[in-house]
Amino acid sequence: MKNLKSKILNGLFKIWVFLLSIPLVLIYVPIRGIVRQFRKIVLKKHDVKHHYQGHNRTLLALEKGALGSNETAQTNRNFIYFILAAITPYLLFVIVPFLMGIYFSFTNWTGLNTGNEIFIGFANYKNIFSSFAFAYSFYRTAIYSVLNIIFINLVAFLLALLVTQKLKLTNVYRAGFFMPNLIGGLVLGYIWQFIYRNALPSIGGILTNSLISNPDTAMGALIVVITWQYAGYIMMIYIAALQNVPTDLIEASKIDGANAWQRLRTITMPLVAQAFTIAMFLTLVTSFKQYDTVMALTQGGPATTLPQFLQNIFAAPNRTVESLNLMAINIYDSAFVRYEMGVGQAKAIIFFIILLIISLTQVYYNKKKEVEL
């Protein structure tokens, strides 16, 4: 059973994957072209037509002029005109900057020597891989993302279960839980900074010292804020999925004597697995790209000592790092605070590749769990 809502969600998800895979396609297309040209040359030597038949019938037919060749060409041209409106801004604002970014990551660009930058090969990348600060940022971002994905999805799913029950005022609850998502990340950061710095310490006890000034608790504090903001949004996805679970199946299981937990685990969960794929993908990507709220909440701090295992790996004893210096913040600092645009670009490329691999893996495994009626 596939209805409209899940189709839309599925479609959205495919667009995401499509956007991420565009650069790969861009590399693939020219390579395919070269391979084809090469094959043509090779094949020509041994009588092309004999071996080539059937591989690409349209092409062959066009060559022979069997099909109305003018008509086909016309259709192709029209097609190009239609997609031009969409593809031009996409090329201009996504693909070209992306490719320029790749180029700049191999230069000593500072943002000011534009046009005079020097190609320096993999020096920026070497620099990054020997940097304990970037490794620490990746380590913290990974921890943060894992915890964040768990918390947001758990809270969102529980909220979704709650508001799909037969309660009074369910729509009010839904709107209420969704509301924090409408507040911008920066505003939210400042509001919570006030809560953590002024409101909570006034309660006293273990809260006397602000949670966001302590490197051990700052990440927890951040996760609370992000969950509060984002769980309502993810909840909406789960609500859509939960409403699609057929009531006859639930009723049948009730008659068979399944308790609430059994119903949830064996009927509801597998049927909403598709929503899990999407929700986890969204939370994964937003967690990795987390920037604005952290910036407003703690500016990347508070400071802490580099963990022992990283000290050992990088032979960098007694170094100071900032506990919420997540990858996006680290990249921003390189590019705009230290004016190392080339390094910042290289970090962004590495970030992109890591995110691509992790999200594709996640989607692959989640997809396996999905069932269809």
């Binding site: 000011l112 500016q299 400071a303 802490t304 100071t320 600092d333």
Partner: protein, 412 residues
């Protein structure tokens, strides 16, 4: 049909590109002080009307606009600002390809605070700012401390103890000795302003030996040791509620309400001191061993002219008029509330800390600012977190020194 479509498309492209061109006859001033934005715009408009020039003031600074990032973006555009702001050697090195030499300008004879590199003047001082240990004279007097004696670490140690004893004796539990913040977000106070004590305290103005050493990765161990003693003392007498958890507002509020004997901030907090009725003065930072007899005073930023500007003459005239006309003086001191860097200016600033600073300036007791000459990001991003750790007592003074040493050596 196809041809019409194509020509339409071509036409559209031409228009789009032409729209990006703009006209170059407007004098664009790109500046970073939000608090003077309105006053500067008003002044600039009046000046523009008088001189028949188009002027636009663009303000980007404070919490809502990162000047450093935005100015970088401005220089990627086709149309760049004609006058923009740099904050010292760091900014000069970043933008030197764009900065015009201002040698020979008349206003240079009227100030000592112009920005120079190798004897060539490049920057017009926007204002004068300074910081030291701002003190509440009422508390100091009550505790029996004479501010004039506060010139060495030993004197401060005695004074802080005396004030603390005075608080204890009078049951003033919510009073603090030093209001200073070192938590995240306050790295500019520690990593830049406080660390400048290491770079310039006890040296004659313009002596760049320590900062040059730092940029070469060389540590002046004895100086760093003495400086760390000073940091230790400050942190010891600053309460955790301000030192670790405090924001700028909390820090200034403590002093404004008259409940802090000292504040580690510059004269820019004057507008925030609306409750303070007590007498305020500045005492030196005892950051170097021996006697420290000056406070840190300099022009925090400079107007520079874009070498590629189409309006160089207008830009030069704008700066000259700012320095030499009564309207310019009135704008700088009265309207914008700044301390002017020019000797011919006779107007006195309103703010109590500004007046206290002018006293030091007029006596010529000045320590230089070198904090902006460190590599971009070094003070706030690299050193700042070390102060936070030390404030939280996660590391000891020895470790503090070791970590600062390692970071400086990394610059070599």
């Amino acid at each position: 049909m196809k041809k019409i479509l194509l020509s339409l498309l071509a036409l559209l492209t031409v228009f789009t590109l032409a729209a990006c061109g703009g006209d170059g006859s407007k004098l664009v001033i790109f500046q970073n002080k939000v608090e003077i934005g309105t006053a500067l715009t008003t002044y600039a408009n009046a000046w523009a009307a008088k001189n028949d020039v188009n002027v636009e003031v663009v303000t980007c600074g404070g919490d809502s606009c990162a000047y450093g990032t935005q100015i970088l973006a401005e220089f990627q555009k086709a149309e760049q600002p004609d006058i923009f702001v740099i904050e010292g050697m760091g900014g000069y090195n970043d933008y030197k390809d764009y900065i015009l030499s201002l040698d020979g300008e008349a206003w240079l004879t009227d100030t000592d605070l112009e920005f120079k590199v190798n004897g060539v003047a490049y920057g017009f001082p926007v204002a004068v700012e300074g910081w030291g240990m701002g003190y509440n004279k009422a508390i100091l007097t009550a505790a029996g401390v004479d501010p004039d004696t506060l010139t060495s670490l030993a004197a401060y140690t005695t004074a802080f103890a005396a004030i603390q004893a005075y608080y204890t004796a009078n049951n003033m539990t919510d009073y603090v000795v030093v209001s200073m913040a070192a938590g995240s977000g306050m790295e500019w106070v520690t990593g830049l302003h406080n660390f400048n004590g290491y770079l310039s305290s006890g040296l004659t103005p313009g002596d760049s030996s320590v900062i040059d050493n730092l940029n070469d990765g060389v540590v002046n161990t004895a100086r760093l040791q003495a400086y760390a003693d000073w940091v230790e003392l400050l942190f010891q007498y600053s309460p955790n509620s301000i030192l670790i958890d405090g924001t700028y507002d909390i820090q200034v509020q403590a002093f404004d309400s008259g409940k802090a004997a000292f504040i580690h901030q510059g004269n820019w907090i004057d507008p925030n001191l609306d409750e303070a009725t007590f007498e305020i003065g500045y005492a030196p930072h005892a950051a170097a061993a021996g006697t420290n007899d000056a406070i840190f005073i300099s022009a925090p930023s400079y107007y520079v002219i874009n070498k590629n500007s189409d309006n160089i003459e207008e830009a030069k005239k704008f700066l000259q008029d700012l320095a030499s006309t009564p309207e310019g003086h009135d704008y700088m001191v009265t309207k914008a509330g700044m301390v002017a860097a020019f000797k011919s200016v006779t107007l006195l600033p309103d703010g109590k800390l500004s007046r206290a600073m002018v006293e030091w300036m007029n006596e010529g007791k000045i320590y230089s600012w070198w904090q902006n000459d460190m590599p971009s990001g070094f003070g706030m991003q690299t050193l700042g977190p070390i102060y936070t750790l030390y404030a939280r007592k996660t590391i000891t003074k020895t470790e503090f020194i070791a970590r600062v040493t390692t970071e400086i050596q990394d610059l070599g």
